[in-house]
Symmetry: C2
Amino acid sequence: MTAPALSALSALLGDRFSTARPVCAAHAQSETHIRTGLPDAVVFPETSAEVAAILRICAAHRLPVIGWGAGTSLEGHALPLHGGVSVDFVRMNRVLSVSPEDMLVRVQPGITREDLNRELRATGLFFPVDPGANASLGGMAATRASGTTAVRYGTMRDAVLGLEVALADGRLIRTGTAAPKSSAGYDLTALFVGSEGTLGLITELTLRLHGQPEAVSAAVCAFASMGAAVDCVIETIQSGLPMARIEFLDPAAVAACNAHAQQNLPLAPHLLVEFHGSPAGVAEQAARFGEIAESHDCTGFRWAEKPEERSALWRMRHAAYPACLASRPGATAIVTDVCVPISKLAEAVEETRADIAESGIPGPILGHVGDGNFHAILLIDSESRAEAATAKALASRMAERALRLGGTVSGEHGIGMGKLAYMQAEHGDAWAVMGTLKHALDPDNILNPGKLVPPHDAG
Amino acid sequence: MTAPALSALSALLGDRFSTARPVCAAHAQSETHIRTGLPDAVVFPETSAEVAAILRICAAHRLPVIGWGAGTSLEGHALPLHGGVSVDFVRMNRVLSVSPEDMLVRVQPGITREDLNRELRATGLFFPVDPGANASLGGMAATRASGTTAVRYGTMRDAVLGLEVALADGRLIRTGTAAPKSSAGYDLTALFVGSEGTLGLITELTLRLHGQPEAVSAAVCAFASMGAAVDCVIETIQSGLPMARIEFLDPAAVAACNAHAQQNLPLAPHLLVEFHGSPAGVAEQAARFGEIAESHDCTGFRWAEKPEERSALWRMRHAAYPACLASRPGATAIVTDVCVPISKLAEAVEETRADIAESGIPGPILGHVGDGNFHAILLIDSESRAEAATAKALASRMAERALRLGGTVSGEHGIGMGKLAYMQAEHGDAWAVMGTLKHALDPDNILNPGKLVPPHDAG
Ligand SMILES: Cc1cc2nc3c(=O)[nH]c(=O)nc-3n(C[C@H](O)[C@H](O)[C@H](O)COP(=O)(O)OP(=O)(O)OC[C@H]3O[C@@H](n4cnc5c(N)ncnc54)[C@H](O)[C@@H]3O)c2cc1C
Ligand SMILES: Cc1cc2nc3c(=O)[nH]c(=O)nc-3n(C[C@H](O)[C@H](O)[C@H](O)COP(=O)(O)OP(=O)(O)OC[C@H]3O[C@@H](n4cnc5c(N)ncnc54)[C@H](O)[C@@H]3O)c2cc1C
């Protein structure tokens, strides 16, 4: 079925269709240790109608279709498990319209977060979801991404107001409206957000924007113990302080960041925080946070009030992943992503710390702790099967721990291939329900097959 | 198929099963003009397991099953179109657990909003979604309800973190976790919220709570024109002021409220607003709102700072619906519920006002204008078919207007039977997709048949 499909695609797209090996190989790569075969072809659509036409061709020939945004996902989401066509959205990267009065923007899925914010700069508005990596908005919606600012502005679940989606049979539908809320029927927007390209390809997004804060202030502070830092987070969140960011770095993560970003932070657990608001509001928030941090014996409290200092701080934070990788030359990483209720955060982080220490594998911990979300970056020798096995066992104990504490195996990265093994444990029969929905919308299983839902015949 | 199903249900539930005519009739009543036949029986389960068992019996005999919360929905949602069993959740009304540290509560679906907040009072937390009516939490989730506080705290979409749901085949599933966010698979929670009992019966909810605000302040003010009031709302929202409530009443609604609640507001367009926060924060917000209102020539600005004054204000607002009804003795109401992008609010309200004026039917307008959501309460003589037809034509022009302006036909009340006719226009092919999902989860169409989705064979 592959050859006729490929010639139909080639006829449709001309030089925006490729079977060249380097192009295919580039669409079988990921930041992680996960590997698959290559796609049979890569296509570069420019319009929604083309995406729909691609799907009609693939449906007719039952050829797998895998969306490709910026390829930064961490669980092999965008890799082809069964060949097929990689649909790269890089040429669908336009801002379609901005409505400053409604604080909305309509974009094509291939635009990146940084490009979007560059285009918005003059409007006084910004798009807050910030996964660090310069991901595409389509990919971020598909993985229900979040990041450092979710504690204040929410995740892609909150940020996406509506979508245009091309379904497995090539129908183009619109979900949601431009009104701030609706009770008119099933929340299809929320169903497609986080569906990892298994239910449809997103061809357009309507996103909620926020006013650029009048005043911003950021700070970094150290704590005597992990427990003290985490308790400070818990108290801050419970106090209702509208933190814009509240990030945790353990001593190992601090060491890696110091080396990579030429910083000189003490090797202790740290919090990095940011406040947004009116000048008076920010001052009030900062003072209240300062008191809470003080009461947990924080030390080395340092403000970053100037924009340059602040960007240096967040550049360091955003580079924490490469910094960790660089801290063990030649290593690859297994990145975990658990998220627990805030009251269980100290327990989760401390048990994880002890478990990693015992394993002998380096595993800096950092996270968006205002949401109860943290990552251990398990750094393994790429050649050592023993280390890989140890790291996987650690990751799976982290997942079990998160579930035991009422949490989830993925706070923001998603399932892809890497976390499939935990879905039954997290969802029970609800996982089969996901399979039923997938089967209803994609009966021939052409959309990103092998990801997220149970194997098709078991659905 | 009905008789054997009913005897099985009777055997299961004993005196919590009833076919008594008054009981059945009470479950075929609604606040509105919509009428149907009676259910064949009413059941009063006490546990999730009983709900699952009820569904297994009904599935085996293909008997319709309709959830019943407090019966306050406004589009005939809970009325039986094809007989069957009304599942009344009144005996499943317990708070199961409160987690103050995580600001979460687990409840059974039958608890009402007021009872829940009474039980939470001592914790310093509250549940913010406030549809005015003392609805059940299960019904509120099922209709994706919101109300006066949504502008600040969001709707049921935001408030529900997880659910337990009994499916059409009697399986009980859990959706979501207690962690603040998750990327682990399809967002089933969001799919069931707003599904109006057509995909499953909600047997438990995990809800997000908020800290009771330290300081609260409310105010009422009048404007020379509807346009000025609405422009004031738009500017307020765009300024990023975190309004806790911002409600609009047109002169006809004010007149009705004056008469019903012994108030003496001038017969002009009014805004009712509320601020929540720290004492300093509330003062700052109130001052900024005052300036904006001033710049739109507001008059009669009056603060309600004392708790008694504030509750009198919101009691008046919450009684606006009965007040409107009482303003035309013997009338019934057709309640509209459009929601538009905030930039289109003035246009939508003014065109609607003119259209109603021309029709000769009394139709006070009020709404949660911070969300772009407003209602016209079209008061018709219950005996007059001509007035009913005029009102329906008005309502349908309002719906078309909302869609033309990029909005939705239902901001918060939902579809039920009353708004089915607009679903194709609002959703296009996405409505068929809703039908596909319904069919996948409820192939025999036993769950609230005839509501929300396209007719089953057309699905
Ligand atoms: C250093 C680093 C830090 C990171 N930090 C964070 C973080 O803090 N928070 C966070 O959430 N993530 C983080 N990530 C993960 C990653 O950035 C996110 O998962 C991101 O959302 C992926 O977007 P992408 O455009 O790269 O998608 P891709 O990797 O290209 O694709 C991801 C998935 O989306 C699907 N997809 C892509 N486009 C579409 C479309 N138009 N329609 C339908 N499906 C589509 C793909 O098929 C695939 O299943 C990080 C990654 C790196 C490398
Ligand atoms: C005076 C007045 C003012 C109102 N103002 C507002 C407002 O401001 N905002 C707003 O949103 N609404 C408002 N409403 C409408 C109404 O209060 C809401 O629709 C409310 O959510 C209905 O809840 P209920 O418990 O009464 O549900 P019901 O009317 O009993 O049922 C509503 C729907 O939910 C289903 N259902 C009930 N329980 C369950 C369950 N456990 N599992 C699955 N399905 C279930 C029913 O089958 C039905 O389809 C108002 C109503 C009145 C009378």
